[in-house]
């Protein structure tokens, strides 16, 4: 790039020093999650042009995409596979930051903004599942509505009665394409601001300009796009029959299988206890692990055990026969 162009685009601002160690893959997982979110945003905008968010029209419009347009079907497949990629990457990022104790002072707010981003990603994954209006979507919505009833007024927005003038499925579409992405963008802005000004928690004195970080990051991001496209091509997203109320015959989208496993074990309260345990623990981590101590060691072990339990629960729920949680026929 010519110096003149570099000056006019103020690209010198990208030359600020960062730890040289940050050029490793385990320090790029957050940025790669951001790349997956970028793919989700672009493909999502395309899908809004073909999706019909009315209760009766939703399933037919998804079916139209699959059967009638090779390009739109591929865009949908990429949207679904990049959603999985974003969730895998965000958990890998979370685990890496947790293990190197990147939440310690002064980075507590950075950690908490990340935890909120994780919750928003789960919200986007859930609302995205419901939009298909197939059997899995109807059952996911029935579970969410039953869970909302357990938390009283807090869960009111997830009930049909909250806004009887508009179907719940259509309101969830609004959440998926506007409320949650706007909240995500705002929180991402805060997260990136904090990363820029607090820096990453990498040890070592060696420094390198940030722009050198962009080269391997770009390389990994392109490999991610290639992987997401390849998965979309090899394993296209499926669609079940139009959903019927009052049945439980499906299992949820894989990132929710650990919650499904908790429901298998503890009934409907498991649906609240398991996420409560995860997010409660994540919120407490910067408070419990402030400096080297016995409590810090226990927190680290507890985090590792929690992650292992989540993975085990996902695998168990995937292979075990389906169970009814809402006392509906199977």
């Amino acid at each position: 790039m010519t110096p003149a162009l570099q000056e006019r685009l103020a690209l010198d601002a990208l030359s600020y020093p960062i730890p040289a160690r940050a050029n490793r893959l385990d320090f790029m997982l957050g940025a790669l999650t951001l790349a997956a979110l970028g793919i989700l945003a672009v493909t999502g905008i395309v899908l809004t042009q073909f999706y019909n968010p009315t209760p009766l029209g939703a399933h037919a419009s998804v079916r139209w995409m699959i059967e009638r347009s090779a390009l739109v079907a591929f865009v949908r497949d990429v949207h679904v596979s990049s959603a999985s990629a974003a969730l895998v990457l965000v958990f890998a990022h979370l685990a890496a930051v947790f293990w190197r104790r990147g939440f310690r002072s002064p980075r507590e707010a950075l950690w908490w903004s990340g935890v909120l981003l994780l919750a928003l990603l789960f919200g986007l994954a859930f609302t995205g599942t419901v939009l298909r209006a197939d059997q899995e979507a109807v059952e996911a919505l029935a579970h969410a509505t039953a869970g909302a009833a357990l938390v009283g007024p807090l869960g009111a927005p997830l009930t049909e009665d909250f806004a009887p003038s508009s179907p719940l499925a259509t309101r969830l579409y609004g959440l998926h394409v506007s409320v949650l992405p706007i909240a995500l963008a705002a929180l991402l802005g805060l997260h990136l601001w904090l990363v820029r000004h607090l820096g990453v928690s990498a040890r070592g004195e060696a420094r390198a300009p940030f722009r050198t970080h962009l080269v391997p990051l770009g390389g990994f991001a392109l490999l991610l796009v290639a992987a997401v496209w390849a998965i979309a091509l090899a394993f296209p997203a499926s669609l079940l029959a139009p959903g019927q109320d009052g049945f439980e015959v499906t299992k949820p989208f894989w990132p929710f299988l650990w919650v499904y496993a908790a429901e298998n074990l503890f009934g409907m309260t498991g649906m609240l206890v398991a996420p409560g345990l995860l997010f409660g623990f994540l919120a407490l981590v910067p408070i419990l692990d402030r400096r080297p101590s016995r409590l810090a060691t226990i927190t680290r072990v507890a985090g590792a055990v929690l992650l292992a339990l989540m993975v085990a629960a996902i695998i168990w729920a995937a292979v075990t026969p389906g169970q009814s949680h809402l006392n509906m026929p199977m």
Binding site: A70, L222, A241
Partner: protein, 182 residues
Amino acid sequence: MANYSRIRAAASLAALALGLVADPAAAHEKGVLRLTDRRLTPGVTVGITGIQFGAGAALTLSLDGPAGRVALGSTRAGPTGAFADSLHVPANLAPGAYRLVARARDGDVVSSLAVEVLAGPTSDADAHTGHQMAGEPSPEPLALTRARHPAVTGAVLAGIAAFLLTGATLLRRAATVSHERN
């Protein structure tokens, strides 16, 4: 006067008996369905409205006719008992006279409307899909014939190759720069 009292007592008893034996499902409010066009072309989406249903009533819609019962999906009436939605007519639905039927959550018919399904253009893809019958729900994905186009598949494969090559080149360059710095 005595006769009048007896008639009134008998009428009260009859009303009481009717109340006891009446089917509770009859409590469903019978609504009215309206379509923007009652001549339905397969593969086309038409507007549908409903009025005079129960407030917040959950309704399941189907087309009952020569092809059996074809599930169309569910909707819900608003607080005034009305709804407005869009209805997609399955692409390969057999032509003929059908009834568009709205059922309450317990399966009771709460409204129906005579419609005619026209013979529509059926694509090669439609021939393999089969419409969704209103049977037991299944966890198995629909056996849909996916739209394919050689240009799309070719472009995707070329894109994957380009992303792989460019990504690998960038990573190699980053490794070289890092090695030189050290």
